[in-house]
Structures are given as C-alpha cells and as structure tokens.
Amino acid sequence: MFQEQRFKKLSPEAVPGKAEELKAEGYRMVQICGITGEGSTELVYSFDKDHSLVNYNVTVPFGTVVKSITPTYWAAFVYENEIHDLFDVEFEDSQLDYKGNFFRTSTKTPWKGPEAKEAERWERER
C-alpha cells in the first residue's frame, strides 16, 4: 500500500490565504519545493496533519512576486530563501529575508538563463 497522495492546484495569489486556513485547521508546514519549467517555476507547498499529507502545486510565471507565508509559518523562511537564491523567485513580506545571502555558494546563483550556462561552462573547463 502506498502513502496517500493529495495534490491540488493553487494560484500564486491564493497561497497566503490557504496557508492561514491550513494553520487554523492545525496543519504543520512540511516543505516548499521549486521546479524550473518553461517560462515559469512550479512551487510545491506541502502540509501535514495527523500523518496525512496535502500538497499544493503553484505555477509562478518568471518575474512574478509571490507573497511570503512566513507571517503564518515563520519556519518557511528556510525554503523561501533557498528558492529565492537557487530558483530566482521573489517573495514579498518575508519575516526573514536574507536578500540572496542564505546559500553562500562559490558559484553565482540562481542557476537559470545565460548566467547558469556561463557557470556550467566554467565548471566544465575548471
């Protein structure tokens, strides 16, 4: 038997409201994940209550700013700063914004676009 799978779609604007709703229902935030797509980044928000997981797929077009959920789930700063640094998604109203200094990598981030190609070329030739 596989673990129960619940994936739902959500718009970027609906994220903070849904987070507040889930918090009020007693859900724990599990993680936020970034996936680079064609012209957009997909975010997967996961929450748990009583060992039951629910995931929300949020498609964020490049350049779109997403409202932070740190006012509701402060611990989300870890994921939001990681996604900002590595996937170049902007979060506004963050309770703890590192402004691109959370992941102190030697290679310049985010890894997309011409800068990523240049970084990859540099890595290969090193």
């Binding site: 799978q5 599990v30 996936i35 996961s46 060992h51």
Partner: protein, 359 residues
C-alpha cells in the same frame, strides 16, 4: 542593557561537525538572536537529475549524506516505486525496516558520542563509537560497505539476508543492548552530563508545533510526528513513538538513548517474523508523467521525498527535504536567551546534518 555584540560562529568551529554559519547577537554573555546561513557544502545533487536516469539517481541520493545514506535510499526508492506503481515484496519491505533501524542505531550512537565529545567527556565518546562499530561490521558483512550501504533498490533490496547474516545481526543486537545499559546509566545519571544538559536550550511543545520541528528534536518537546507511526511496515511491528516533555537538551538526549533500545527491539521483531519469498521484483520501463511524495522517519527526523516524472528515464525533479532543514528554525529559537557557553550543546542536540540540508 549591555552593549550588543555580533559574534560569528562557524562555519569552521570545533563544536561543528559540518560547516554552518551563525551570527550570534549577544547582550553580554546572553544570546539575543541567532541568524543562520548555509551553502558551504552545497553540491547540487538534486540538479544531477537532469543528467542521471531514475535508476542512477538511487546511488546519488544515497550519497546525500554518509550517516543517513540508508534513509535517503529508502525514501527515494519508495517515492519512485509509488510513481511507477511498483509493488515491493513483503520480505523486501521488512528487510528495509531492519536496515533502516540498524542505521538509526549507528546514527544515534554516533550522535551520543558527538554529544559526549562536545561536553569534554572523551571516554564516553569513545565508548559510544566503539559500540557503533559493531553495527558497521554488520553493514560491511552484508553489503560490503560500512558507510554507503547501498541496500535499497527500486523494486526491493540489493541482497537477501542469509541465516548467518540473521544470526550475526541478532548477536550484535544482544551485544549493543547489553552495552547500552551502561551507556544509558551514564547519560541518565551522571552528574556531569545532567548538569550540562538539564534546562539548557528549552523549547516548549507549543513553540515546537509553531516552528514545525521534526524528529527526536520535536519528540523531546512532546510532539508526536514520527513518520513511522503511519508506515504499515512499522504498524505491523507495534511501533509506538518515544516522547519526553521537558523540551531541553537532556530530553532530546533521552529520546535518542531510548530509541536505540527501541530500534533493537524492532529489528528482533522484524527478523522473528521475516516473510518468506521474493526480495526484489524486476522494474521495467520509465516513470510515467506524474508526481509522488513520500515521507520517511530518518534518525534525525522526518524526511520528505518528491519525484516528478515525464515518461522518459529522466525525472523532471527529485527533491529531498531533510530533517535538519526544518530544524534550523527550531535551533535559532532554542538559542535565544541561552548563554554563549551553551551554544555548542544546543546546536549538537538538534543533530544537525548540513550535508543533508544543502544537498
């Protein structure tokens, strides 16, 4: 109010087994605020999914961390099996549990040693690591590897256990259990351990829930979110999570000491009722388009695995959210108000794994 000072802590520090940086804002000797930053051992392992197929990614995932290697393999293969709809034989499920619990025993013994080392109790440190070697001997005998055991495969496990292997595991369980009696007495009763840990780095159950903490760190504050409770393989063994309510460094230590004994008991039960039959099924084809999430209780806490397939042999995404990732916020809260002398103890008691966190 005294003058506020910022003290940089790490990334290179004797108390840190791995590099993480903290800016500690101090008022005299008291920590007012701790701001962490990471990235010093980021290896881009998840990005390798673009150039390694879903089978090869098993070996990549096992190398996210040396200590949790078994757990990472366990989580990743379960996620891929879920995506592909592969039914794993019952014997393989139980064998995975046995190895996962052996992995928890060696991880907790490693951590207990690091804790003892952190407080300057060197003989206790060496005893814990000496006991741990017995478990690594089992890994080496069965799989050939002491650190990266590479035991999980998509569809089952790498090899079956022979009767000789089972005898060896049960013998090691007996030996570790006997030695743990002494270790438990020292950790629970020795005044130097108690004085160093009791009341230090306290975090309440409500705060832990608020910060979404996981693993022994959360269970030391009485929060029950052990992913094994929802795992059918563990339910069959009558698993019950170990909880302490005090929420200090001492409670987090007690959870881990007790979990070593609990894991030994789970291994005995699992091996005593090991199903007969296949231990691996062939897996053909590519993962279909779709997504699957799987959670596993690693020694450090709940880990989350997410895979997204596209119908080819390459996945679109393989994501790992490790326990330390979510325990960083809890650690920063524990540090608020503590003395500078307790910072290293508090960091150690969340059992941080920075390699896991950064991937």
């Amino acid at each position: 109010m005294g003058k506020r000072t910022i003290v940089p802590f790490g990334p290179q520090h004797p108390a840190l087994p791995e590099p993480v940086h903290l800016d500690l804002e101090l008022d005299g000797e008291t920590v007012v605020r701790a701001v962490p930053s990471i990235g010093y051992v980021h290896r881009g392992l998840e990005k390798l999914v673009e150039t390694r197929d879903y089978q090869q990614m098993t070996y990549i995932m096992e190398r996210v961390c040396g200590i949790c290697s078994m757990g990472h393999g366990y989580g990743y293969v379960n996620a891929v099996e879920g995506l592909m709809g592969v039914e794993v034989p019952d014997r393989a499920k139980v064998l995975r549990v046995v190895f996962h619990e052996l992995s928890r025993v060696h991880s907790h013994l490693l951590w207990l040693g690091l804790l003892a080392d952190g407080m300057g109790f060197d003989s206790l440190f060496m005893q814990c690591w000496r006991i741990r070697e017995k478990v690594l001997d089992v890994f080496e005998t069965v799989t050939g590897g002491r650190v990266i055991v590479s035991y999980c495969r998509i569809g089952g496990v790498a090899c079956d256990l022979t009767p000789e292997h089972i005898s060896m595991i049960l013998k090691v369980c007996d030996e570790v259990e006997k030695e743990m009696d002494w270790v438990r007495r020292v950790f629970f009763l020795d005044s130097s351990v108690r004085n160093r840990l009791i009341g230090v780095g306290q975090i309440s159950k409500d705060e832990m829930v608020e910060l979404c903490g996981v693993g022994p760190t959360a269970r030391g504050s009485g929060v029950d979110n052990d992913a094994r409770s929802a795992d059918e393989a563990y339910q069959a063994l009558g698993f019950e999570p170990i909880l302490y309510d005090e929420g200090d460094c001492y409670a987090r230590c007690k959870v881990r000491v007790d979990e070593v004994s609990q894991s030994i008991e789970l291994i005995r039960k699992a091996l005593g009722d090991l199903p007969e039959g296949e231990w691996r099924v062939p897996v053909k084809g590519n993962p279909p388009a779709g997504q699957f999430a799987f959670r596993v209780e690693q020694p450090r806490g709940e880990a989350y695995y997410y895979v997204k397939g596209n119908g080819t042999k390459f996945l679109d995404r393989a994501r790992v959210r490790t326990p330390t990732n979510i325990n960083i916020p809890t650690m920063t809260r524990m540090l608020q108000g503590c003395g500078m002398q307790d910072v290293s103890m508090i960091i150690i008691t969340i059992d941080p794994c920075i390699s896991c966190t950064e991937r």
